[in-house]
Amino acid sequence: MSEVVLSCQGLVKRFGGITATNNVTLDLKRGARHALIGPNGAGKTTLINLLTGVLDATEGRITLEGQDITGLAPHQRVRRGMVRTFQINQLFASMTPLETLALVVSQHRGHGARWWSPLGKDAGVAERAQQLLEQFHLAEVANQRTEHLAYGKRRLLEIAIALASDPRVLLLDEPVAGVPAGEREELLQTVAALPADVSVLLIEHDMDLVFSFAKRMTVLVNGTVLTEGTPEEIAANPEVKAVYLGHGDEINEAVQAGERAHG
């Protein structure tokens, strides 16, 4: 089970004078639990945008299941099983969570172009939507308009949408930001518990979560891959410490400084 599912070679993205992604080569193996970390503005979100086709790459190639998908439109990549979440919620404001999920499920099952029968006609679709609602604690707000939901619930819906299309490859961009502290672990456990052949790429700044989730990590700095390895290797890497993790004692330094000052 170690063949490469998603891979990119020599990916470059320039915005005017800024090179946000600089010659990135990355392989995601089948069943991977892979984390992508790096300083703010390192190009993590941009990389996801390139992989999913939201942005067009300036240079480079992307392959999914061995096929070149560089030129494909976003929705075509989704049809091949690659699904993402967004760092900033992207929801359907006027729909209810139930409608949203039913729509995603029916689109995923190839009913998106059906115009003659109502959305709820297919019992299988409704069932799957209901199951997702329960799994993501959204059942009690299932029939409220999404724009009226509390932030935490919206965040959950954001992730539920991604899982509703049964992804083969899942790209998560800071999925738990804004989720209540207590629910974060549970959420990532849901993700971790996906079938073993689903590959996951996670971006996250909460290191406790990252290290408990990832089997492999890639560090991105200034648009370039700095290093890749197991969590242990990354944690021990001095360069990573210098640019990203810090030495873990800054807070204490700050505290001491503060205590000194306030006596």
Partner: protein, 321 residues
Amino acid sequence: MIPAQTNLLRNARMKPWEPVVWLLLFAAPTLFPSHAAIVNEVAIVGLFAVSLDLVLGYTGIVSLGHAAFFGMGAYTAALFCKHVMPDPHLGLLAGIATATVLGFLASFTILRGTDLTRLMVTLGIALILFELANKLDWLTGGMDGIQGLMFSPVLGKFEFDLAGRTAAYYSLTVLLLVFLLARRIVHSPFGATLKAIRDNRLRAMAIGIPVHSRLVAVYTVAAAMAGAAGALFTQTSGFASIDVFEFHRSADVMLMVVIGGVGWLYGGVLGAVVFKLMQDFLSQITPQYWTFWLGLFLVVLVLVGRDRLLKPWTWFRRGQA
């Protein structure tokens, strides 16, 4: 049936008041025979408005050039009558067909850009068609249009009468059929993908919706409906005049949809009823200055909101902070 499915299907079910609305509409030409002409006009613009609502309300695409399709339907029906045969049914189909083709071609111009660009591009297309209809006067009769058309009876039986009863029932029937079709579309998975595109195009792509082909599809369907409205216009009035392509036609229909409320098929019909009746009523009272009162109505409507319009005592209550 699991509750989720019941909930999903609830929206698509016919509400008890819906048949009542249609019964009233269909009773109108008989109850008020002297107003059959205006019923006919309402039915036609209502159909036109439903077509616009499909793109504007359900898909979020602004179009200020919807008259292009209306006009296409109108002229096709006229030319069909003049040069092919006076049968209204086939003429209607012909009008729908050409409008569909035009809509399909035009749909490629609305795929990209902002609301403002789409507004202007669609408007530009209608204006160019207007100029074309003016220039090609050997075909279209130029500024004077195509006049004095005589259509054969509807269903081979009902002559178009002077009072406009046949016309009213003919238009109402077509409106009903198209409305039922539109209703089906908006409650289907296809309709849901349209709403998704309207709400958040980025996310719609990210769940695998082929945004462009959806837009092309819905724009083409809407154009076909507008073409039907245009063909009815020609057939019930006996002429096609160049102003079917005019800016004010596109603008009026947009006003109607917004007055009635977007993203709600009845909004178009309601807006058409309100707008036309108000226009008719006001211009009877003051043929010179009725636009002032119509304008005032629009301003008040927006300022107090649709829901409070009929409750004047709430108008001056302060809005919340």
